[in-house]
Amino acid sequence: MALDSKIPKGPLAEKWTNYKNEINLVNPANKRLIDVIIVGTGLAGGSAAATLAELGYNVKAFCFQDSPRRAHSIAAQGGINAAKNYQGDGDSTYRLFYDTVKGGDYRSREANVYRLAEVSTNIIDQCVAQGVPFAREYGGLLDNRSFGGVLVSRTFYAKGQTGQQLLLGAYSAMNRQIGRGKIKMYTRHEMLDVVIVDGKARGIIARNLVTGEIERHSAHAVVLGTGGYGNAFYLSTYAMGSNVTAAWKAHKRGAFFANPCYTQIHPTCIPVSGDHQSKLTLMSESLRNDGRIWVPKHIKDVEAIRNGTLKPTQLSEEDRDYYLERRYPAFGNLVPRDVASRAAKERCDAGYGVNKTGEAVYLDFSAAIERYGKEQAHVKGLDEDDSALVQKLGKEVIANKYGNLFQMYEKIVDQNPYETPMMIYPAVHYTMGGLWVDYNLMTTVPGLYAIGEANFSDHGANRLGASALMQGLADGYFVLPYTIGDYLAHDIRTGTIPTDSKEFDEAEKNVRNNIAKLINNKGTKSVDYFHKRLGKIMWNKCGMARNAKDLKSAITEIAQLREEFYKDVFVPGEENEYNEELAKAGRVADFLELGELFAKDALEREESAGGHFRDEYQTETGEALRRPEYQYVSAWEYKGQPSEAVHHKEALDYENIEVKERSYK
């Protein structure tokens, strides 16, 4: 099967407008005859559900959480990008497009990214109209800040809780439609299979997580907004429940999985403290606006810090290595995430890590506190040389900007980051890979769509900060509602899809068999035992740096672990009740398949690009070495076992942007 990305013809800047003018529309009376299932209620799924219901479609929305408001988009901290150019600093649709393609290391699709940049401004207008309380300046206008990999301030934010505010905006839009009866909301439901009838996605099988009932739901199209698969690593900044199951079941039903190896390891997370750890906590990238990253210059100071005889605050300026500022003077501490993470790993691997495990670097706010304090003293006509006053005023500014993040850090680490630098280390945070979709956001299964983090399309090999929220809302509010109409226009006479067909029978049987297998296994090891082991393989062999030898051994080890899992996993309880271990077991079973495909994809890609760094392919200065022969999207077709997956390629053409070395120096 040849991949057709269905990119409209014509000049880049006119593609989306022309497309919208030419597609099929469904008239309002006919929309009432059409059902759409949306799985996942984060920024992508929630905004899509609300918008499709506003248009008049009958929406059935599903989430595994107890309320749509709890999807993990809620935890996004820093902000959302939009090419508004409110700051007059030279921003434009083209620049946002350019930064995103470059930031993605020239591995994303031009037309999709341009469309994303184009609709970015609508998102901000829409959210403000919904009552999202973005940060404002004293003049009452919206404030912006800067994120990594760009030279303008285009990020809109609501303190360190931007994701929360945007998700609650989408949730409120959903609530309005739930109240009107246009969205039927199914909470605590997990999708366990897609049903394909005559080659088209026509429904899902879902499990009610409270009663254990297996349910059939039909629709004319199915949309997955189910997020990323970073929990394959066990430890990550994802929510505990985040999983690949919906996307993986879709993959098993014919949807190609694209670029699984493109994973974002975020540079600023709270380091691992022990074996009991269940998740990692992100410290927003926005902190790099004001925080400076460093390690000691000399090993003797590293040792003294580790054994507690020296405090980081006692180390003089000349004994500190601000390694990002040293290596990347143009972008400094605001280099993109992949670059910052690898630089931290490089210093820690060289022995300069500052905590007991040797895996931490400092993120230091003392210079910013001093600078803001002096500025405030000057503005208020107070004594700029009074250091106690300057400290106090500076800390107030920092608290105003990042207060909740500093509090979060203190709660976890038990240290006060206003007084001593934060300790941070990279952690798995986002997956750029996902289900392959065309320009319409449709997967290789007709009528099955993937939006937000669940698809692969816009971020290439590395996502820039504050772009995930932008993409989720762009897909759900402004892209899918058009593209899905073009498809559904052919379904106005179809009528309700029956759920008593042989296809539904077969899918339900498949789900019941999988559940029975897990419940009746009665092995000796818990689900977490296997999940943790998978996570260790993923982190050690498919993590921040990969090589052919490790990847080959990861493939073998994961396949073995999967076998062991099915032999020896123990799932307590029954299937017809609330049973979290059973839900977890199903998710880990899917991670154990995805993990192998992940390693296989990383092995196939003999180059370094963005979040995918191969030891064998680096420049003399240790930067990622892209290879022109790999300028394609890898899309994998399911054939039974991950080892048998068939590799398809979608060539990437750059007509509007020059592909060159990605430099942040």
Binding site: A129, G131, P133, G140, R176, M240, G573
Partner: protein
Amino acid sequence: MMNLTLKIWRQKNASDKGKMMDYALSDVSPDMSFLEMLDVLNQELIEKGEEPVAFDHDCREGICGTCSLYINGRAHGPETKITACQLHMRSFNDGDTIYIEPWRAKAFPVVKDLIVDRSAFDRIQQAGGFISVNTSGNTQDANAIPIEKEHADKAFDAATCIGCGACVASCKNSSAMLFVGAKVSQFALLPQGQVEATDRVLNMVKQMDEEGFGNCTNTGACEVECPKGISLENIARMNQEYLKASLKG
């Protein structure tokens, strides 16, 4: 390392009566979060072939509002302005006995063990917790209406509610006034929220009453236990909005 005695509410399902059960847990590190401590207990139970304790949790960083434990008689435990997932074992001592119960409120029936059904909160939001604006791409420019920073900041503070239900669990009347007040306030403070202000407050309060939440008697316990520090000011603002709306209607 600490040794603890845990007294935990076990209830098989909504119709089961439920009871407190005792568990001994040793070698608890002070660096563990409270939920990680429960993870350790659950792993031990699973290894013994017993059923783990069911509790709600997801983001484990204090923002999703899923976790909902009543620990030693306080919502989210002994510390202030945090959720149970942000609580660390360093807040406890070796030899402690810790009581762990679900939220107790008529409007929050128990699903299993420590998990309760908070869908009443969703239904209140569905009654009016929104601004009726369709997604069109043609709304006016985001900077067309400047909003006083003070109002924008206060609206944000109200909007930081995570919908965990600690306010209800802490209130002797099981009142949801802080939760509802926060949403009403957020929109009352913004120009975009004015058009529907009357219907919003009347409909949300009506739904709140129908769900079986109690009345507010101004004890302020909700504010003390709110992990996000949502202020009582929001209840006062809602009362004001309600009065205005009632006089109009």
